[in-house]
Amino acid sequence: MNNLILLTIDALRKDVLGCYGDKGGLTPFIDSIQDRSVRFTKAQSIGPYTQASFPGILTSSYYLEYVMQEREQELLSYRRTLVSEVLQRQGIATAAFHSNAYLWDCFGWNRGWNTFYDASDEEVDDKAPYTKARELNKKVHLWLSSHVASGTDRPFFLWLHYMDIHEPYVPERTYIDMVDPSIDLNEDAIFKLFEDAVLKRDASDRGVVELLKKLYCSHVREVDDAVREFFGTLEELDILNSTVIVITSDHGDEFGEHGGLSHDGKMYSELIDIPLIIFEPSRKGPEVCDKLVSNIDIPPTIVRLFGLQPVERFKGRSLLPPEEYPVKGCYGEALDIEASQKMEETKEVHYYREEDLKIIFREADNSWELYDLETDPGESNNLIDTSPAAEAMRGKLMPRIGRSRRNGS
C-alpha cells in the first residue's frame, strides 16, 4: 500500500446499506466493492453525534476526557493527538476536505494537515447548509491531480467527509424518485417538514417520520453516487490500486425508534451502530469480521497500515489484521444535549457493550438500561432488574461516570 483515504459519511446508519442487509438498493456502488473489502459487522461509534464521535475517528480518544476544558476554550485539546499530526511528522502528505462546522479550523481540527479545506468560506443554502459531496469531489480531484502530477513518491493520507445525508433532508428530485416516486412535495414543503418536525424533535406523527426516513434514504442513494464518482477519480489518476480506503460514518440517525429524531445524545443502535468497511485493492475476495470493534480503532489502524510504530496516546487497537484484534468490550460516552439544556448543567450519557449485551446509563434521570441485542435488536426490553449480568455490566461503567468533570484525568 502507498496511500490511505478515510472517507467518513455524516449520519449514515449501518442498516441502510445493502451490504449490511438492506433490501432497498440504496448503495449499489458501496455494495459492489465488497469483494475487495473487509466489512466489520459490529462496529460501534464512541458517541452519537459529531463532537462525541470524531475524537475517536481522528484522535483515538474518548470525548468526555477533555470536554470541559474544550468547551471552555472552544478548542480541541492539545492532549489529543490527531492521526494527521503523527503522519505529517513522518513526511506523509496529509489533506482534509470536509464541511462540518464542528470540525472547522477555528476549533483546532486543522492540526497536522498540509492541506485543510473546511469550506468555512463558502456560502451555503438553508436547504443544504454544507458543501455538497460532488463539490468536495472536485476539490479533492484537483488536490489529487497535483499530488500525482508532482511526480512525488510521497504517500498521502486523505480524509474526506460528506455531509449530504445530514438533515435538513432536502434531496434532489432524481434521488427522491429512486426511493419513492409517489412523494409529491416540492422543496419548500420538504423543508417545512424539517422545520416543523425535525427541529422540534417531534416524532409523534408516524407518517411524517416515515416520509423523513425516505428523504434521508434518498440522500443515501445520492451519496453512493458521490462515492462512485470519487472512486472513478482514483481510477482515472491510476491510484486506486495503490490506495487503501476506509469507509465509515460518525454516527447514525434516529427516526422514531426511541421516540425521537436526529441525534442528540441517545446510545441506541440506530445512532451507535456504524458501517465500517476497509477496501484493500490487493484483496482477493470479501472478508467479514464479526468482532466487536469501535471507531476509536481507526487511527491505530491507519498508523499500522503506514507501517509506523503504535502511538502511545491512542486508546484503540488496529483493526487489521482482523484475526489479531482482541475480543473485548466497547465504550461510548457523550453529553446529553437535550437534558443538559433543560437542566442547565451538563449531564452525561454512557454505554458499554460486551458481545451482545449493552448497558446504558443516563445521568439526567439516573437511569440504567440493559439490552440483549441478539434477542432484542430494537432495544425495547430493559433487563436491568432481571439479568444476572446486570451488576457486572454496571461495574464496567461506574468508574467512567462523571469523568467529564474530572478535568482530563
Binding site: 476544558q69 476554550q73 485539546s77 492539545y78 492532549r79 462546522a101 477555528c106 468555512s120 438553508d126 484525568s409
Partner: protein, 292 residues
Amino acid sequence: MDHEGIGAPIDGKGDGDMVDEKRERELAGKIEKAKEIFKQAFERFSPEETRLIWSGGKDSTLVLWICRQFCGENNLALPGSFTIDEGDSFEEIDEFLKRYSREWNVGLDWGRNEDVLKASNYTLGADVHMKDLNERNRAELKRIGFDQEKFPFEAESYAGNHLMKTVVFNAYLEQNTVRAVFQGIRWDEHPARKNDQYSEEIGAAELVPAHARYRPILHFTERDIWDTTHHYKIPFCSLYEQGYRSLGVKTTSLKAADIPAWEQDLENTSERGGRRQDKEKAMQRLRKLGYM
C-alpha cells in the same frame, strides 16, 4: 519593509497620505493625554520603581514609545520593561523585542515560569504533575482552588494561565520591588475593558504584592494605534503586516485576514477575532443543520 522581516518603520507608505492635519492634531491630543498619565505616575513613583509591560505587540510598543518621549522631555530615566514568556511565543515577537530593546536602549527583563516549563518537559500539551512543581507553584494553584493531580501545559488553560502569566508577573514585582506598572490596555479592544480606569491600585494579598497599574493609552482605538504608528514611524512586528490583528501566544493567535491589520475593516470586525468570528459563523451553520 525592513529586510530582516522583523517589522520596522515604514517609509513612504502610510504616513502623510493617511493622516491629514486635523487627524494629526487629534492623534497629538491623544498622545498628550497619555503623557498626563505618565506625569501622574512619575509624581508618585521614581522611574526605577516602575516597569513597562511590553509584549512586543502594537499597543505596549506605543506605550513604550510615548514613555520614551515623556522621559526625554522631562529629563527622567526611562523605566525598564518586562515581558512574559509563556513558552509558546512567536519568534517574530521575540526578535522584535530584542532588536528594539537594543536600539531604544530600554532594559528588558524576561519572565518565565521555568519550574512549570521543566515539569512539562518543554512540550506543549504535555501533562504537568503537581508533584513535579515547586512549593510556590503548588501554593499558587491551591490559592485559585485548583485541586487536581495534573494539568496540560497550555498557556491558556485555567491552571496554565495562572502559573504562566499571573504568577510570573506577581513574582517579578515582588523580587524587583516594583511599585507601579504601565499597561497597553485599550477600552475598545474588548467589551470587558470598558469600565477600566487610567490607574488602579492593587492591594496586597497572599502572594500578590501591592502595586499600581497605569494605562496611558486606554482612549486609543485600534484605528488610532495604526494611524499613530504609521504617522510617527513607530516600529511594529511584521506579523501585523501578514494579517494578525492581535498577538497572544502562538498556538491560539490566528490571522484575521491575509491583508495587513491596518487595511482590515477595524471598525466593524473584532480585533481578537480571527477565531471568534469564525466560531460565530460556525454556530450559524450548525443552527442551519438543526443544532440548537
